[in-house]
Chain length 208, copies 2
């Protein structure tokens, strides 16, 4: 008998303020689990070393707009004059094949995904404090003080949306945060599916 | 800042057919986590070595009936002429203090608990197959063949109720099953609480 009655993959959305470490957590999680990282589509040009279909799907603006028209984005946004989006068809195809798919995305984008795909497992990464987040942002970029203040104000506004998410993880100790994320993935894969008849049938078949 | 914004404990209900190993899984889980095993009330007499308030609360039938009248059971049942029940007041008191509480209970009892306390985290332990369950039952008791058949038919009827539960764990390899259960507990403790204002306030207070 099967070890699991999983019928479909799950879409895990890892969100949180910029600088909170969601990318680091996700890359550690993907080392441990079976699952695919969702590849975004963008209109920006590939940087040296970047490959179409690996870091991004690099497309023309025309092609991007066609995907919007066809409602083929779980979310999309304009960042610094370039367009970025998560192609819906590919994600759904993977989920249908039983693969889990992982998305690392800002809070607004995460909420777009939830609206387009309500079954998504929504995980919010919180900083231990805004003070720590400020230090992390300073460590990453050489932003001016007023830019940093703006980022922190944005982070607080994003944190106010935590109630839209199902899970929260405080990224204080990275190992603990990764273990939390892995527990969420494992628990979600123990969730009783909507259709239980295939489970019951397996046991019934033994009695015939 | 706190490592967690937990406001209340969670009630974990571990159910499944007799012989599936739910007691073994739960005792392993309780070695790893912070939490209390719920102690049942019973009208049967203590066996040698059993202590009131440890294995059971041993009470008179009169006292038990008074608890029924006062609606002080999360569930109760009659087994071989004796009454058994899970006292509600004590469980709720622990949950209010932020302690997780664990219940090992048959499927019918589990569904009673869910009705009385819908926030309960419902976990169903499945056998890898009825064949394996039969072997485990034979290994435990010296039941006659017809009694074993009756038990297995009962197990199948209980399995048909798996859709009432939130999580399922297949107890094939005990270590895997325990790890599943621990992941569920950890993930549930990452769940965003209903009231998120205490979370948001922690970050807001930093900006004042």
């Amino acid at each position: 008998m099967a070890k699991s009655f999983k019928q479909k993959g799950k879409l895990f959305v890892i969100s949180g303020p910029s600088g909170v470490g969601k990318g680091t957590i996700l890359s550690r999680v993907l080392q441990e689990v079976e699952g695919d990282f969702s590849i975004s589509m963008t209109t920006r040009s590939p940087r040296p070393g970047e490959t179409h279909g690996k870091e991004y799907y690099f497309v023309t603006e025309e092609e991007f707009l066609l995907n919007i028209e066809r409602d083929n984005f779980l979310e999309h946004a304009v960042v610094f004059e370039h367009m970025y989006g998560t192609p819906k068809d590919e994600v759904l195809r993977r989920l249908d094949r039983g693969r889990d798919v992982y998305l690392d995305i800002d809070v607004q984008g995460g909420l777009q995904v939830k609206a387009a795909y309500p079954e998504a497992v929504m995980i919010f990464i919180l900083p231990p404090s805004l003070k720590v987040l400020r230090e992390r942002i300073i460590g990453r970029n050489a932003d001016a003080a007023d830019v940093i203040d703006k980022r922190l104000a944005g982070a607080l506004n994003e944190i106010k949306l935590v109630g839209e998410y199902e899970y929260y993880i405080i990224n204080d100790d990275l190992d603990v945060a990764v273990a939390d994320a892995l527990a969420i993935v494992r628990a979600e894969n123990c969730e009783v599916p909507e259709r239980v008849s295939p489970i019951i049938r397996q046991y019934e078949n033994e009695t015939n």
